[in-house]
């Protein structure tokens, strides 16, 4: 019995030493070396692909954000600003409940099932809102033209992209709200449409932040 106990203690001691050493190798040296190499080779990416436009930081090229009007003070959710291209809905985003000093973005999905009535209603409401907001006199939006990405939340809640179809659908509204004609805005969308990587990987997409930044320049030029 005593022999077994000693043997077990020795084995646990060996395990502890093995783990501490492997922690040094894989938990300290490895991440430090990778950080050093990544910071040296890809400094912009390693720090979050931040984007500046017009001399100030406007976000990350990879992280979606809201393009909303200033809060109206009633405490409700901020309304979308019709002057800017809108991203996908983000009902899965969480709120930081632990840290009072920060308001961290908590990524997440709605996790609603395909047959959940809440999701069915939300999709229908989103579709109605897209049709309403983007119909301009003489050019009503056909509900059948609203693509799926416009009415569904992404898996992270931080999707920075929309489909080229959703971007084109917003062109007339955006042009009208900014006092522009539709043609240059449509050209902007075409210029900011990324195809599939190597022609077959992923889906064609438009980065909303990049598109809105270009739109801001275009609007400033036309006013200037």
């Amino acid at each position: 019995m005593a022999h077994t106990a000693t043997h077990t203690a020795r084995l646990l001691g060996a395990s502890l030493r093995a783990l501490l050493l492997l922690t040094l190798v894989t938990g300290v040296l490895y991440p430090l070396v990778v950080t050093g190499a990544a910071q040296a080779l890809f400094p912009a990416q390693a720090d979050g692909s931040k984007v500046s436009a017009g001399g100030r930081e406007v976000g990350s090229a990879l992280i979606g954000q809201g393009y909303t009007l200033p809060p109206d003070g009633t405490g409700g959710t901020a309304a979308p600003d019709p002057r800017w291209f809108q991203g996908r809905p983000a009902h899965g985003l969480g709120t930081d409940t632990r840290d009072p000093r920060h308001e961290l973005l908590l990524s997440g999905a709605t996790n609603l099932a395909a047959d959940n009535p809440v999701l069915v209603r939300r999709v229908a409401e989103a579709k109605a809102a897209v049709v309403r907001d983007n119909s301009v006199p003489g050019h009503p939006v056909d509900p059948a033209d609203v693509p799926a990405d416009a009415v569904t939340s992404s898996a992270s809640g931080l999707d920075p992209h929309i489909s080229p179809r959703y971007a084109r659908l917003q062109v007339r509204r955006v042009a009208r709200e900014n006092g522009l004609t539709a043609a240059p805005v449509a050209r902007l969308v075409t210029a900011h449409t990324e195809g599939r990587t190597l022609g077959f990987i992923g889906e064609p997409r438009v980065n909303v932040l990049a598109l809105n930044s270009a739109l801001r320049e275009l609007t400033a030029e036309s006013r200037g």
Binding site: A18, G48, H102, L104, S107, L119, G199
Partner: protein, 553 residues
């Protein structure tokens, strides 16, 4: 080009990339696990541990090493989370409460990486990097070691010894996982995965105000999270978060990383037993299952049945636009047919049948190609069962790789196969039937039941993905999923090592005219049949209540 064509081409590119590395990586691992020489860094570790890396172990000694290392791993990781509030470099995050810390410690040591917490607000740099990421390496290397021990059981004749656990563990980390992870981490960083030790970033926004997100050593952790089929995300959204998986290319690359080691291990197996054809047969069975699941997943997701996807005009709820339906389907299948559990889409929002496929992939025991090591040993146990079934049909004593499959071997194989279903079905039934567990499901009806079934299937199979509508942050689920992960990982390992010891003790018998040819496509077919019938049918009643009821409604 349409999205369906794009999905199929991505599948073909993946198969091509894996085929390219199959022989070099498989042969490299075979050399690693049979080399006589030790690297200098390995000698330092053996000296500090006080282990003789050349001492041969019988199966009980090998098992004691696995269990001791894992027990200490759970304790260390638990202590690290409980002490987080007092640790420097944790960006002010507090200590993790006891039930959650137990669950997470077990989860990472058992290679499950089930996460009942928000990574963003719960774990600081120290716990993520020096705790969770370390177990991503160690738990993966333990799985590989156990698989190699089983392979040695087949390959050796009349010895009874299975190699040295410490040597297998350290070599798996130092010579296989570390170099692969370092390269993969830099590829991911080039794509845009963050890698820094900064605190909370406050970044200006387009319309004013700011966004706050955490930095961290994400690329280094992401690489091993996938290579070691771990799956624990730095962020809550896991591989759907743009900082973990920024581009369509990084998505395909991550699926590749998930499949790489488990696929190449079949080559290692073939080389070590002296017949690469045996490896091809096992790989063939895995490939048939993986391709069938991928085709079915793409079909159901592109067809987007169900009220909400029909109303939206596509199954895009819970999917990232850059990956699309093709990329998301590839990821969902690969993560549940291995023990990974990383997700790039919300599995709960897949179509009814799509969610069922993810669930069924885990229920088949994660063998196509399965977790690093665990996929190979589970498939070899299934092969033992398959030759037994074939032997029954023709009335011969079954043999596999020159070893007789006698009563002891078949009992151990049967026990191995029964552990997981017993855990899944018992805990699911208890959670549904008992009055005590709080109402934790998000969705109504059949889907709510599937959330619970999925949770225990994921935990007991050491997958880690979730129908994440389930609120698992309760004492009931922390405790029960914790037990399911622990027993679902280590009980099968006990049976595998006992089987390995029993096989290694036998003398290899030469093949005769009556021996079942196991290096043939016919045997691969038999193996697929055994997997689908034995594992699949066990769960059929439970599947009928959940995803089938939802998908066929």
């Amino acid at each position: 080009m349409g999205p369906v064509t794009s999905g199929v081409l991505q599948l073909l590119a993946l198969v091509g990339a894996l085929a390219l590395l199959y022989v070099p990586l498989g042969d490299h691992m075979a050399r690693v696990y049979s080399a006589d020489r030790h690297l200098r860094v390995e000698r330092w570790i053996y000296r500090a541990v006080g282990a003789d890396p050349d001492a041969e172990m019988r199966w009980p000694a090998y098992l004691r090493g696995v269990l001791a290392l894992s027990a200490v791993g759970v304790l260390l990781l638990y202590a690290l989370q409980r002490a987080q509030g007092a640790l420097p470099g944790s960006s002010g995050r507090g200590s993790v409460p006891a039930p959650g810390a137990f669950n997470t410690a077990v989860s990472f040591v058992s290679n499950t990486n089930w996460q009942a917490y928000y990574g963003e607000q719960t774990m600081g740099h120290v716990v993520q990097t020096a705790g969770l990421a370390v177990q991503n390496f160690v738990s993966a290397a333990v799985g590989m070691a156990v698989a190699v021990a089983l392979v040695r059981g087949f390959a050796r004749s009349s010895t009874g010894t299975l190699g040295n656990f410490w040597a297998d563990l350290v070599r798996g980390v130092v010579r296989v996982l570390l170099p692969l992870a370092a390269v993969a981490a830099l590829v991911l960083a080039a794509c845009g995965v963050v890698q820094n030790f900064a605190g909370v970033h406050e970044v200006g926004q387009f319309t004013g105000g700011s966004q706050q997100w955490n930095g961290g050593a994400v690329a280094s952790q992401e690489a091993v999270k996938l290579l070691g089929t771990n799956g624990g995300g730095y962020f809550n959204a896991n591989s759907a978060h743009p900082f973990e998986n920024p581009t369509p290319f990084s998505n395909l690359f991550e699926v590749f990383l998930i499949l790489l080691v488990p696929v190449a291990l079949t080559r290692t197996f073939g080389v070590l037993v002296g017949s690469v054809r045996q490896g091809y047969a096992v790989l063939g069975a895995m490939a048939v299952l993986w391709c069938a699941f991928t085709a079915l997943m793409m079909w159901t997701e592109f067809a987007h049945h169900g009220p909400a996807p029909q109303a939206a005009g596509g199954a895009m709820e819970g999917k990232e636009l850059r990956f699309g339906i093709g990329g998301s389907s590839l990821f969902a299948v690969s993560t549940t047919l291995t023990s990974t559990g990383a997700v790039d889409s919300a599995h709960s929002s897949l179509t009814g049948l799509g969610g069922g496929l993810a669930l069924l992939g885990m229920m088949l025991g994660e063998v196509a190609p399965g977790g690093v090591g665990s996929g190979l040993y589970a498939m070899l146990v299934m092969a033992v069962l398959a030759v037994f079934l074939a032997g029954l049909m023709v009335g011969r004593t079954p043999e596999y790789l020159g070893k007789r499959i006698g009563p002891r071997e078949i009992k151990l194989a049967a026990l191995f196969l029964l552990v997981t279903p017993a855990l899944v079905l018992t805990f699911t039934a208890l959670s549904v039937a008992l009055p005590t567990p709080p109402r934790s499901t998000l969705n109504p009806g059949a889907h709510g039941f599937t959330e619970v079934l999925y949770a225990f299937t994921s935990a007991a199979n050491n997958n880690g993905s979730a129908f994440a509508g389930l609120n698992a942050d309760t004492d009931w689920f922390h405790t029960t999923t914790g037990l399911a992960m622990l027993l679902g990982r280590f009980l099968p390992m006990v049976f595998v090592l006992a089987l390995a010891g029993s096989l290694a003790g036998q003398r290899t018998v030469p093949a005769t005219a009556g021996t079942l040819r196991t290096g043939q496509p016919l045997f691969a077919g038999l193996l697929v049949g055994a997997v689908v019938i034995v594992s699949g049918l066990t769960y059929f009643p439970a599947l009928a209540l959940g995803p089938l009821a939802e998908g066929l409604a």
